[in-house]
């Protein structure tokens, strides 16, 4: 039957190919149609549980769930504009002690602090101790007015500007305000070398030159 010259094996019509019970004008065999249907149904069923699960795990990448928390760091009298005062705040209270971090706080210094056009300066300068290399905690040395990172030797100046070692941008800062006679610290933000404010970035993400385009702002921040 297969070798019968009566049938044209290369025809696109099943009838010409000699398939039993073929309809006139039919090009897809019923076996192929069933194969396709089963594969499609299986594919849809698998996607129906895989896609929601993947989206569920990727959710935190696209959704900002961190609320703004203003934390008290003391009365205005505790701070002047030349000397940093260390304070401990809790960035993520849900994880308990590990969520705590040290910040350095001083009043805004009219002479020494850069003022960015179009951006209202914060009344207090609250510097994050997270090194902008890979996030080790930096320490402020009053005598040299430098922030020094113990891990890979990053050095930052009085305003938190990166001056030496591997860090890629100045130290991050926090929004500050004075409420009912208390200094409060809010969300973190990042600054570039001109001290322009950006949404908070991860350590090692550049904010200057062409490099900044390699590290996009994320929906979560």
């Amino acid at each position: 039957m297969a070798d019968s010259p009566k049938f044209d094996k290369s025809s696109r019509y099943t009838e010409d190919r000699g398939i039993a019970g073929a309809f006139e004008g039919e090009t897809v065999t019923r076996r192929r149609l069933m194969e396709g249907t089963v594969l499609l149904a299986g594919g849809i069923a698998t996607m129906a549980f895989t896609l929601p699960a993947v989206g569920f795990s990727l959710g935190p990448v696209f959704e900002d769930t961190t609320p703004t928390r203003w934390q008290d760091v003391g009365p205005p009298g505790d701070f002047d504009d030349e000397v940093y005062v260390p304070r401990v705040i809790n960035l993520v209270p849900e994880v308990g002690d590990p969520g705590k971090t040290t910040i350095y706080v001083r009043r805004f210094n009219q002479q020494r602090d850069a003022v960015v056009e179009g951006q209202e300066p914060q009344p207090y300068v609250a510097i994050s101790t997270r090194c902008t290399h890979v996030g080790c905690p930096v320490r402020y040395v009053q005598a040299s007015e430098k922030f020094v990172c113990p891990c890979h030797g990053g050095v930052y100046g009085f305003e938190g500007q990166n001056e030496g070692g591997p860090p890629v941008r100045p130290l991050d800062r926090f929004y500050t305000r004075v409420q009912a006679g208390r200094v409060q610290v809010g969300d973190r933000f990042s600054v570039n070398s001109e001290f322009e404010r950006f949404s908070p970035r991860d350590p090692s993400n550049h904010l200057d030159g062409l490099w900044q385009y390699l590290y996009p702002a994320r929906p979560t921040t």
Partner: protein, 267 residues
């Protein structure tokens, strides 16, 4: 070993009185014979229905090239290190709590209070290091013996993926004791991921489950560490072993092919 040989002809089909004669009178079996035969009967019953012995003969009794030596055991050693990690990990999961406020407490309870807890946790902790050392030894053996060459390139690729997965196991497992060292080492490790161009920041968000190291980070790492990555590793080990059995192993490079000697003799 006897069980792995082909099934002998059934009794009676070709008895002592010839194929068509009456079967030999059965001797009364002792307790030991009955036990042995009972076991063999169960094994035979299972084998007849699953074909296990055929598979095991194909899988374990392969021909290996001349010069096969102790270096060829490194892959199996890695496999057993993985099995040890899997078994100790399953039992550690019975006492461990992946919760940011209770993880450290539960881990120190395993070490200090649970019977043999210190031993099982130590096996898992040091076994992880041993496994990575063994992987690199195995990889070095394959590299220096030239065993990655045609037709085994795909097995090398699978092996490299397995290496990356095992390193990911190390990263995700390091956080779980949730002490200061593991917490900050993981913070830095995630920041290293964030330094990748374009995808880095998103990858860090995925790992942390958000912009900050939050309360769901540890459950995420726990799920990756004990469900997702081990599943992938088991599947890829299956593929790795299938290719080893299908393609066979290579002779060490210092052995000359025998064909050449034959040719020389003929000349």
């Amino acid at each position: 070993m006897k069980l792995l040989r082909p099934t002998p002809p059934r009794p009676g089909r070709n008895g002592p009185n010839g194929p068509n004669g009456p079967p030999a009178a059965p001797a009364k079996p002792g307790a030991k014979e009955m036990a042995v035969e009972g076991t063999a009967g169960v094994v035979g019953w299972l084998d007849e229905r699953t074909g296990t012995s055929t598979f095991l003969r194909f899988f374990l009794y392969r021909k290996v090239p001349k010069g096969t030596n102790w270096f060829y055991t490194l892959g199996t050693a890695t496999l057993f290190a993985f099995l040890s990690q899997a078994v100790t990990g399953v039992f550690l999961a019975m006492y461990y709590t992946p919760d940011p406020t209770r993880a450290y407490e539960s881990a120190s309870r395993i070490t200090n209070e649970v019977f043999l807890g210190e031993f099982v946790r130590g096996m898992h902790k040091w076994g992880a290091t041993v496994m990575i050392i063994l992987i690199f030894c195995h990889m070095a053996r394959v590299f220096f013996f030239g065993a990655y060459k045609y037709p085994r390139e795909l097995n090398w690729v699978i092996g490299v993926v397995l290496l990356v997965l095992v390193l990911m196991m190390g990263l995700t497992g390091y956080l779980l004791p949730f002490d200061q060292r593991s917490f900050w080492a993981t913070v830095v490790a995630v920041n290293l991921n964030a330094s990748g161009p374009i995808v880095g920041p998103y990858l860090a968000d995925f790992l942390r489950a958000g912009a900050e190291f939050g309360p769901t980070t540890i459950t995420r790492f726990y799920a990756l560490h004990m469900l997702l990555i081990p599943g992938l590793i088991i599947a890829l080990i299956g593929a790795h072993l299938y290719l080893v059995v299908k393609l066979g192993t290579t002779a060490p490079p210092w052995l000359k092919a025998e064909k050449k000697d034959l040719l020389r003799e003929e000349v």
